[in-house]
């Protein structure tokens, strides 16, 4: 009997052990750690902070774009400033654009989802505005990129992990359409709230609408030298249609950071948390501000030293030269404020766009008024007193009606530069401080100020800073066939030069 008992016991234990079947396995293998669905607004918040941290940080903005654009450059570990780039940084830029764009696409898809009983049309519109801005930033960096077939890795109907590339004009026209649709959605008061994730405008729909239309102006002016008709059409729709655009510094699209770890303003984080002191003011902007006696110099830059009378001395570092720490550092407003801001778009930029459009006859209007409003907006933004602004606007190098002539070595084809355009361009370039991609793009479009190649460039002789950003090695490896089909014939030279952007019609630059 005893044997039988033991045997039964063991068998029962065995049966108990193995009776565990597979019925509950699908539940067992359901991820208990992460949600399979989240509110769209929290995705929007993720993207907004991500844009600031990925593109307006030390790795991208400070190391590269602003150095190419003559505003900020490296003073230690100067490799990037003379185009010895890090593959990881280039890969990260490409990866981040598409990552944010994918997440914005999920917001748009959620709003379009027929089963969704929430009204998320305004969230969709905000996602479209940011998508348009990111697409423009991305194409302005590489020109030819995957666009129409992109972001379809998990498309239920046509999954595609090897998207084909599209040309820049295609992307530009689509960006304009995207912004137009978004603007219309935002103009309609019925569209639901943006929710807590709107960390850009705190749910203020009118500011989003102004931002959308102002971005259309940015698109229009960028393509104005190569496709003037389309640019006119856009100006006509926005300005002619009296659509709301940014009207004061209150409308600025700035990401204001909370100011505590980990949510510091990225430049502050680099300097004060990571304790890096690798960046200084570029020579070009320091020399320009000095020669204009521009009061913003004390905001943009810190004195390198003081002379015997106690006057500040500002010294800029030659963009892309070797290690040199004896230069002016970046001003506290941009560098030392933990709760500082990341500028996506400024009201001043809008005024300068309109000034150029008026000056070139793309719109009717008083170019001088727009120009002075732009200068005034930038000065105000930087806390400059009105009396100083008035004096500045009277400075012959600044004053609209002064005879001061800029010596332009090169200029775009089409309309010839006049001194008025040069003044708009230089003032816009100054006003765009810290907006890495935008200031680099505008410098390439206008060739103003003309910026020579970095002295330590290993790429042989060129007469300009880079025309483009290197394609990431990830894309060459992982989407090689489409990459080569699209890019091989473009005449790109040594990663940075050769082929100019579609909208870059400068002649004689190489």
């Amino acid at each position: 009997m005893r044997k039988v008992k033991f045997l039964t016991l063991i068998l029962l234990a065995g049966i108990f052990t193995f009776s565990s079947c597979t019925k509950h396995w699908e539940e067992l293998n359901t991820n208990p750690n992460n949600p399979s669905d989240v509110p769209a607004t929290n995705i929007l918040g993720y993207v907004i902070q991500g844009i600031g941290r990925s593109f307006f940080n030390d790795w991208q903005g400070m190391n590269n774009f602003l150095s190419y654009a003559g505003q900020v450059t490296k003073i230690q570990y100067t490799d990037e400033a003379h185009y010895v780039y890090r593959e990881s940084t280039v890969n990260a830029a490409w990866r981040d654009y598409y990552r944010y764009l994918y997440n914005l696409q999920t917001i748009i898809k959620k709003a379009n989802d027929g089963d969704n009983d929430r009204n998320e049309q305004h969230l969709k519109a905000a996602a479209m505005v940011l998508s348009a801005m990111l697409w423009q930033m991305a194409t302005d960096q590489w020109e030819v990129i995957p666009f129409r077939e992109a972001l379809k890795g998990d498309d239920p109907n046509h999954p595609n992990t090897n998207p084909k590339y599209d040309t820049q004009d295609t992307i530009y026209y689509a960006i304009n359409d995207m912004l137009k649709t978004a603007s219309n959605l935002l103009a309609n008061p019925a569209g639901g709230p943006l929710g807590e994730g709107d960390i850009l405008f705190n749910g203020d729909l009118s500011k989003w609408e102004k931002f959308a239309n102002s971005l259309r102006l940015r698109v229009a002016i960028r393509m104005s030298y190569v496709d003037e008709n389309k640019a006119r059409e856009i100006f006509n729709e926005v300005i002619g249609g009296n659509l709301p655009i940014m009207q004061s510094n209150d409308d600025n699209a700035f990401i204001w950071w909370p100011g505590s770890n980990p949510w510091y303003e990225p430049w502050y984080y680099n300097r004060h948390v990571r304790n890096r002191d690798d960046h200084g003011m570029a020579k070009t902007i320091i020399d320009t501000l000095l020669s204009f006696n521009d009061p913003r110099i004390g905001v943009y830059a810190k004195p390198y030293a003081y002379d015997s009378l106690g006057n500040p001395i500002y010294v800029g570092q030659v963009e892309g030269a070797g290690t040199n720490t004896n230069v002016s550092r970046i001003g506290a407003r941009f560098r030392d404020d933990p709760a500082g801001f990341t500028p996506l778009m400024r009201y001043a930029e809008v005024e300068f766009i309109l000034a150029e459009a008026a000056q070139r006859g793309l719109i009717t209007g008083d170019a001088k008024a727009y120009y002075e409003a732009g200068v005034r907006a930038s000065m105000k933004e930087n806390g400059i007193a009105d009396t100083l602004i008035d004096a500045y606007l009277a400075n012959p190098k600044v004053a609209w009606d002064s005879a001061y002539a800029f010596h332009m070595s090169q200029g775009p084809a089409g309309p010839t530069y006049d001194d008025h355009l040069a003044k708009i361009y230089i003032q816009k370039w100054i006003a765009l401080f810290k907006q890495g991609q935008e200031v680099w793009a505008e410098q390439r479009r206008t060739d103003f100020p003309p910026l020579p190649e970095a002295p330590l460039s290993p790429y042989g002789t060129h007469n300009r800073q880079p025309f483009r950003y290197p394609y990431p090695v990830d894309e060459k490896n992982l989407n090689g066939a489409n990459y080569h089909a699209a890019v091989d014939g473009l005449g790109i030279k040594d990663d940075f030069w050769g082929r100019q952007m579609w909208w870059d019609v400068r002649k004689g630059v190489h």
Binding site: R2, K3, F6, I10, G14, T17, F18, S20, T22, W25, E26, L28, N29, N31, P32, N33, N34, P35, S36, D37, N42, I43, G45, Y46, Q49, G50, R86, W94, R95, Y98, L101, Y102, N103, Q105, T106, P146, A150, G153, D154, T161, N162, P163, G197, I199, N261, P262, W263, V273, R274, N275, G322, T325, P455, D474, E475, N477, L478, N479, G480, D488
Partner: protein, 1133 residues
């Protein structure tokens, strides 16, 4: 509780039984023989004797004879005369019928197996102990490659059986007494963090009876999805079935010293532009590269004036010196306030010229120092500028390892138990690093009835470190600073004496404030702590239904909880505001196995085997918190957080169910056929694919027995072959996409969608393996070899590949790829001398694994395994070995000549990465010689080697860049400059040239001839380089290529030496209660006997990062390897 119950049962009345037990001794001197095989003749029923030569065997009805064999003794046949059968063996033959532990813990005769199994006795592991049992296998098993990450306390060891065969995890399954246990490790990053080791370190080698290594799929098919990378079976010690109590005490102490350090130069100190060549010529060249023509150094300036920055008024030199860019060195604040005092390179002034220069540890000249002023600079009084040749080595201390254990065992015929307690205490060679391990082990066996037996094994381990050193390219790895970004004039004693003080600027006392912490600050302040508590073991019930059939239930569990934390003190370099994190993991795996075992013979035929089932459940959880900044100093608690703390909460659950069987047929003990079958169901796979099968079949043919070949020359011969298929499932939650959260932004939750594209229709991986072997022994078994050939293909691997980010995702999980491992393994034994007085054995193991990637996925050209500087990757590429370096090399023409840029005199870099070698060794092997004198003195010497394969050494790369390595100041190159192809790369032809890229992307070399005036001509026949460049320019130019620091990873190491003296029985007998006393002198990692000449920096070619493929092939400031020398005393009562 179980243990108490167990002991209370020991006294119970025994039941009648059919068990034979006894002792096996040497006929020579009466000493007991452990590890002897005792087998019922004509069957496969067998067992092994324990450490005291005792055995117990349940014999089938009608059995009359036992066959007893042992290595070094002649096989004996003895009649079963009663319940006790003692056997005395005559010395002589090498044993044939060894018993080995095979899959699922089944003991089987080795000769019946159709596949290779290699085992190793516990004594071989316990004698020269390592804190990590995995590393103690080094050089002992053919086809097993072990890489000790570093000499850091608690560092992990990576073990690969028969080469990497997976894109994922290549570590074998570890099984203790039949129950899988975790060798958990977290990825060790080449970019920083501590190496927390691998969890198998919890096992005390003292408790190991034997280790059996199942190498191929053929041996491991019964483990199904988990056996794909081989299985390491560990059998722990059990009590002898004898009367009375046995006690064994052993105690050991070893002293560990750093034994492989890079070769540093001692001619030039910290700084920049400071050498004589720079004074004579290079200074102008250097500044020209920045577009500044400073003109020649004025001829009236002596080298001394140059070093002291005494330039003529109005010269560029004076101007640059005023900016802190002079030629020499002068310390003001260690952060660019002086001349190159922020620089962490060693291109400064010569050290043997009697210069006096302000340095970080110079006395402060109080005349100039005004502490109330924020702008005044501190002036340091110049002190002699001399080399401190031992400044790196003096940082390290002598490590001490104390290892004590006590075991008590006892029992009677019905019950026995072994109980042991051990303590390991390690003090690392890096100051303030440590490890302590307490281990309590219980093993017991109890006959509940004549048919029912219960066995229990239980181990508790506490493994604790107050501080594990940081590794990789990180400020918390001391080697990053002192190993290459350092100055040769720095006095380590100053840093040691003052590390807890602050300089006049309020910075921690240090030689540099730009990039580095004081190394003592790092090890005393920025500590990483780890505690693991673990319980594992199993409980087995075995019931004999008949004499040929039994049923067995085994319930096993492995539980641990591990807490880690890391501190970063306020004012540390990377986290000036402090940093703190803490996390806890809980891991549990339960295994339930049920077996129906049978064993029956029919005349010449016999059949044995089992049917069984397994249920496995794995639960894992992780909770971590992190303070990004701290408020108060020296308080490491989440209450002290500044900013938003981040929290991580993760759990995972997995189950598998399995059914399996093993059927073995034999004929006349010379022909054997083994088959196994297993079917697994895994919860991690999609429903339509979650069940899968693993079959195997093998045979073994003893041709010496079958053909009746009996000669003195050929003693034994066996051929074997097998085929098997195993597979692998995946981790939980791979099948669907989810959102990941970020630290809330002002309290607003943020989410992003996964970046890994979820798979569609994921299938299990499949590995198919064929294996064949030949085993022969000669001259009465005095010489023998075992040769194995295998071919293993792993396909449909579950890989997470990178995909084009423009798809919206950066990775995708798929089934793809095929890796093939073809290899050969040779084990040979020679018993050269075999007399009572002197015995000399040599054991050799050697293996070669050819590791090819047959295909990847679609058009995917490469799969990245690891990545390092200059964008160099270690990749899997179709048609290449698994792990090739793809990095920037020297541009060469078709004849292999290096192309030199005529403008710079420097080698031209390849425009795109090229293949620079492979990580895969050509072969690995070990030789152990064992000498014995009168059974009292034995000497064992193990040498192991690895040849072939390469490493990228960052110590070499940056060590050259920083000018700290010996070869950067070889001869007079810093005084006179160097010519590429003559003074460096002297075994290469170097010619002037450039390249053009045609429209197809092909590169064409153009040969050039410099005309001396800055112009060049294109020439058809190449012109050799004669340009002189400064050593500083040349070695800083390493940054432009990976090739200079590709090192051949060959090595030969004197791995272990053990000299043991055992007190003769004649003496111990007189002592009465003492049964044996052994005293050993032991040494481990005694010498790097050979390293390739490409290892100019002199790093340890054995290096790695943890147990995963991350960082494979890359050396990045390895914590220097240690040499251990010590002694051990074992007393048995």
């Amino acid at each position: 509780m179980f243990i108490l119950a167990f002991f209370s049962l020991i006294g119970m009345q025994a039941f009648a039984q059919k068990t034979v037990s006894g002792t096996v001794t040497s006929a020579d001197d009466g000493s007991t023989i452990p590890g002897a095989t005792v087998k019922v003749k004509g069957t496969t029923v067998a067992t092994m004797t324990d450490l005291d030569g005792k055995y117990t065997l349940e014999v089938p009805d009608g059995a009359t004879t036992l066959e007893v064999s042992a290595i070094g003794f002649q096989t004996a046949e003895v009649e079963i005369t009663g319940e006790t059968v003692d056997v005395a063996l005559q010395p002589g033959d090498v044993a044939l019928d060894e018993v080995v532990i095979t899959a699922l813990g089944i003991s089987r005769e080795k000769k019946a197996l159709g596949y290779a199994v290699q085992d190793i006795g516990g004594d071989d592991l316990a004698k020269v102990k390592t804190e990590n049992v995995v590393s103690s296998l080094t050089g002992k098993i053919a086809g097993v490659q072990i890489t000790q990450s570093s000499g850091a306390v608690g560092a992990s060891a990576r073990i690969v059986v028969r080469g990497n065969n997976s894109f994922n995890y290549n570590q074998p399954l570890f099984v203790v007494d039949g129950t899988p246990i975790s060798n958990f490790s977290t990825e060790v990053s080449q970019w920083g963090g501590a190496d927390f080791g691998n969890a198998l370190m919890d096992i005390d080698p003292e408790n190991i009876e034997s280790i059996s290594v199942l190498k191929g799929a053929n041996a491991t098919a019964l483990y199904g999805s988990r056996g794909a990378n081989g299985v390491i079976l560990i059998t722990t010690k059990k009590a002898a079935k004898k009367k009375g109590i046995g006690v064994k005490v052993s105690s050991g102490v070893t002293f560990d010293q750093v034994y492989i350090l890079p070769y540093y130069q001692n001619k030039y100190g910290q700084g920049y532009l400071g050498s004589e060549y720079m004074w004579k010529k290079g200074y102008r060249d250097f500044w020209l590269a920045y577009g500044i023509d400073v003109g020649d150094v004025p001829s009236q300036i002596s080298y001394e004036q140059f070093v002291y920055n005494q330039w003529p008024e109005g010269s560029w030199g004076e101007f640059l010196a005023s900016l802190g860019y002079g030629a020499g060195f002068s310390y003001v604040d260690g952060n660019w306030g002086g001349t190159w005092d922020g620089m962490d390179e060693s291109w400064g002034p010569r050290l043997d010229q009697g210069f006096n220069i302000p340095q970080f540890d110079s006395p402060i000249d109080s005349m100039h120092y005004n502490p109330d002023s924020t702008v005044a600079k501190v002036f340091y009084h110049p002190t002699p500028w001399v080399s401190h040749p031992d400044n790196v080595s003096s940082f390290f201390q002598t490590g001490i390892t104390l290892d004590n254990s006590v075991e008590v065992s006892g029992g009677n015929q019905n019950a026995n138990a072994r109980f042991s307690v051990s303590q390991l205490k390690v003090k690392g060679t890096i100051p303030n690093t440590d490890l302590t391990r307490y281990s309590v082990n219980f093993a017991g066996n109890l006959k509940l009835s004549s048919r029912l037996t219960a066995t229990a094994n239980l181990t508790y381990v506490n493994n604790h470190s107050d501080n594990l050193p940081g590794g990789g390219y990180d400020v918390n790895n001391v080697m990053q600073s002192i190993g290459s970004w350092f100055g040769r004039q720095i006095n380590m004693a100053s840093l040691r004496e003052h590390w807890n003080e602050f300089d006049p600027y309020g910075n921690p006392y240090n030689w540099n404030h730009s990039y580095h912490n004081n190394p003592y600050w790092t090890v005393y302040k920025n500590t990483t702590n780890r505690t693991r508590d673990r319980v594992f073991g199993n409980l087995t019930f075995k019931y004999d239904i008949t004499d040929w059939l039994n049923i067995m239930l085994r319930l096993g569990n492995d539980y641990f909880t591990e807490t880690r934390s890391h501190r970063e003190a306020i004012k540390s370099m990377d986290y000036p505001r402090g940093h703190y994190w803490k996390n806890t993991r809980v891991n549990n795996e339960f295994n339930g196995d049920l077996f129906l075992n049978f064993n029956k013979s029919f005349g010449d035929f016999a059949i044995d085997g089992f049917f069984g089932a397994n249920y496995m459940r794995h639960n894992y959880s992780y909770v971590g918190v992190e303070a990004p900044e701290l408020v108060a100093d020296n308080l490491y608690n989440m209450s002290n957080v500044s900013g938003t703390p981040s929290a991580t909460d993760y759990q995972s659950h997995k189950e598998t169910n399995s059914l399996f069987s093993s059927l073995n047929f034999s004929y006349k003990s010379w022909l054997f056929l083994n088959t196994t079958f297993r079917r697994d169901w895994s919860s991690t796979l999609p429903k339509e694919h979650w069940a899968y099968n693993y079959p195997s079949v093998g045979f073994s043919f003893i041709f010496t027995d079958a053909l009746g070949i009996e000669s003195n020359f050929l003693s034994f011969g066996k051929i074997r072959a097998s085929w098997a298929q195993v597979g692998n499932d995946t981790d939980p939650y791979m099948l669907t996409g989810t959102y990941t959260s970020l630290t809330p932004y002002n309290g607003i939750p943020l989410f992003r969608y996964t970046t890994t594209l979820p798979p569609v229709g994921l299938m299990p991986e499949m590995t198919t393996s064929i294996e064949a072997g030949l085993e022969m022994r000669f001259l009465n078994n005095r010489f023998g070899f075992d040769l194995t050939l295998y071919d293993m293909k792993s396909r449909d691997q579950i890989m997470t590949i990178d995909i084009a980010p423009s798809s919206g995702f950066t990775q995708q999980t798929i089934n793809a790829g095929e890796i093939e491992n073809k290899g050969i393994e040779l084990v040979a034994n020679f018993n050269f001398v075999h007399t009572k007085a002197f015995d000399w054995r040599m054991d050799i193991n050697w293996s070669k694994d050819k590791n090819m990637v047959n295909k990847l996925y679609g058009n995917l050209e490469s799969y990245q395994l690891s990545r390092t500087w200059k964008g160099m990757t270690v990749e899997a590429r179709p048609g290449q070995e698994f792990g090739v370096f793809n990095g920037i090399g020297y541009l060469r023409d078709k004849q292999g000549r290096i192309i030199i840029n005529p403008n710079t005199g420097m080698p031209v870099a390849t425009p795109d990465p090229i293949i620079l070698g492979s990580v895969v060794p050509d072969w690995t092997g070990g030789i152990r010689n064992t000498f014995r004198l009168f059974n009292q003195v034995s000497l064992s010497v193990l040498v192991d080697a690895r040849f072939g394969g390469k490493l990228f050494s960052v110590t070499d790369w940056f060590g050259a860049y920083a000018g700290i390595l010996k070869y950067t100041a070889e001869g007079d190159i810093r005084a006179n400059g160097l010519v590429v192809g003559r003074d460096v790369l002297s075994d290469q032809q170097c010619v002037y040239g450039d390249y053009e890229t045609d429209e197809n992307g092909n590169i064409h070399i153009i040969y050039l001839k410099p005309n001396g005036d800055g112009t060049v001509d294109t020439v058809s026949s190449p012109v050799a380089n004669t340009d002189t460049v400064s050593a500083q320019n040349y070695f800083e130019g390493y940054w432009n290529y990976n090739e200079p620091s590709m090192i051949k990873a060959d090595y030969v190491k004197l791995r272990e030496v053990a000299l043991t003296y055992s007190l003769p029985k004649t003496i111990t007998n007189k002592l009465g209660f003492v049964q044996g006393v052994d005293f050993s002198l032991i040494g481990r990692n005694l010498a790097l006997l050979y390293t390739d000449k490409s290892n100019r920096a002199h790093i340890d070619p054995e290096t790695g990062f943890g147990t995963t493929l991350s960082g494979v092939g890359i050396e990045q400031y390895q914590i220097p390897a240690t040499r251990s020398v010590g002694f051990k005393l074992t007393v048995k009562f």
